[in-house]
Amino acid sequence: MTFKTPTGVFHALAPVTLAISQGRFVSLIGPSGCGKSTIFNIVAGLLEPTGGRVLIDGVDATATIGRVGYMLQKDLLLPWRTVLDNAILGMEIQGVPLRVARGRALPLLQRYGLSGFEYLYPNSLSGGMRQRAALLRTLLFATDVILLDEPFGALDAQTKLQMQEWLLRLWADFGKTVVFVTHDIEEAIYLSDEVHVMATRPGRIIEAIAVPIARPRPRTVTLSPEFIAIKERCLQLLMVDSQAPLNAAA
């Protein structure tokens, strides 16, 4: 998967090349306004890049919608639909008959921690549960690639840890290619095979850091020297970047 993307008069993104091999879990981290969401919008076909292409399995998917699963920062569950009917939205839009779609979604909801909630409405769910429902909706939309834009940003620390484990289980079961945006360096390293650090003005990827830590990773891995070394490197890169705009302005 490759794309290059400078956009508009305002250069939101410098030419960016990001290649992700199938089934990998890749994170993007960077300061606010570095174009993480712009990249996602371009990959999802919601923005047409001023230059460059999006290739999925070698096929040009630039400015085509419905090719990747995209979970936005908000869960965007429809309040007038049950959790089950929210989860099947993607299939429904793709024209899968309702009964078939529900039949496919129900066992997954039950297996992945939403059993007992299938027929409830989103407003009676906790933040973590809503996020699960939104993630399953993204997964059930049968695409190989899913983009997650800070899915756990609004959750409390404890729920966030649970959700990370939950996500890793899902990822292991489904074998999808995941691109994950977060502000949380530790989260990025813990979850990913590869962390791409971005810088701002214009948005660009300054370094790709591999995370060669074997899976499954225990929680304590975050205290290992290996993990801390990667974290230090990320922090360094982000610190350098936070000074860069000042230099550029001068």
């Binding site: 999802a44 076909g45 919601l46 919608i65 908000k74 429809l78 939205l89 839009i93 793709q94 939309f141």
Partner: protein, 292 residues
């Protein structure tokens, strides 16, 4: 600085000093003891008794005043005469024809106005350019006192049911259109983004996102609209009509049959209350449907 300010400060000084001493009511007379005011609710039957009492009292006072000559019964009529007229109106008179006529014009106007108005409001979602072009016209029509057009409407649609329906429609349509449009504008763009990221067509976004999202807005104007539709129908009847409660009120007034005016007004308000309660019920049912 004035002498007045200075005296204020001088008066405040002893109070400040008093704060150092134990704050008992005795040495701090400036701060009276206050308790939270508590209202005790009366039982429902007591409220109802008083309500009925006021009604009976008012009617009785009216009757007595008219009989004793304190008010002129020719202009004000009196309850006993109104009651006799009421019986005649409903037994040998045109009561049901008139009520039916007003009811029909109101309901048709309400249905047409609300439906067309809501569809118009929803249609603004389809094209921002179209919405931008049409919007000033809608706002002009909104601010225009539509009842002023009533004589014209009567000329065009005749003195039958159609003209009343037209006026009722004109009153309700704009309110529905603007409220629904407000709903369309409140739509979260990220919601649309989600749908498009799933590869949705515009029609799918409209049907599965825009319409359900705007339903609460559409429903919220139902009660306002039923009142407006009734106003429209009555005004239409005032100007030119052969039937209807509005026409009955106007006719009775012109012939100094004040008792009949009261009877028709009474029938009208009963009709209004019945329709209002029905629409409120429909609204609550719809709302429950939308929530779930």
């Amino acid at each position: 600085m004035t002498a007045h300010d200075a005296s204020d400060i001088a008066m405040a000084a002893p109070d400040v000093a008093a704060l150092d001493a134990p704050a008992t009511p005795a040495n701090n007379p400036a701060r009276p003891i206050r308790r939270l005011p508590v209202q005790k609710d009366w039982p429902a039957w007591a409220i109802l008794t008083v309500q009925i009492g006021i009604l009976i009292g008012a009617v009785a006072a009216w009757e007595i005043a008219a009989r004793s000559g304190a008010i002129d019964a020719f202009f004000w009529s009196q309850p006993s005469a109104i009651y006799r007229t009421l019986i005649i109106f409903f037994t040998t008179g045109d009561a049901w024809t008139d009520i039916g006529f007003t009811f029909r014009s109101t309901i048709f106007g309400f249905l047409i106005g609300t439906t067309v108005g809501s569809l118009l409001g929803l249609s603004f979602w389809w094209s921002r350019n179209y919405a931008a072009i049409v919007q000033p016209y809608i706002i002009c029509f909104e601010s225009l006192p539509k009842l002023a057009l009533a004589p014209l409407v009567i000329l065009v649609f005749g003195i039958g049911l159609a003209s009343k329906v037209a006026i009722a429609t004109a009153l309700t349509l704009v309110v529905s259109a603007l409220t629904t449009f407000a709903g369309v504008k409140a739509l979260d763009p990220d919601g649309e983004k989600l749908f498009y990221s799933l590869g949705a067509t515009r029609w799918q976004v409209f049907r599965k996102l825009v319409v359900p999202f705007c339903l609460p807005w559409i429903i919220s104007v139902l009660r306002v609209n039923i009142g407006l539709a009734l106003t429209g129908a009555i005004v239409g009847e005032f100007i030119a009509s052969q039937h209807g409660l509005g026409r009955q009120i106007l006719y009775a007034g012109q012939t100094y049959d004040i008792a009949l005016v009261w009877v028709a007004v009474f029938a009208l308000s009963t009709l209004a209350v019945v329709m209002y309660v029905t629409v409120s019920w429909v609204e609550s049912v719809l709302r429950k449907g939308v929530k779930q």
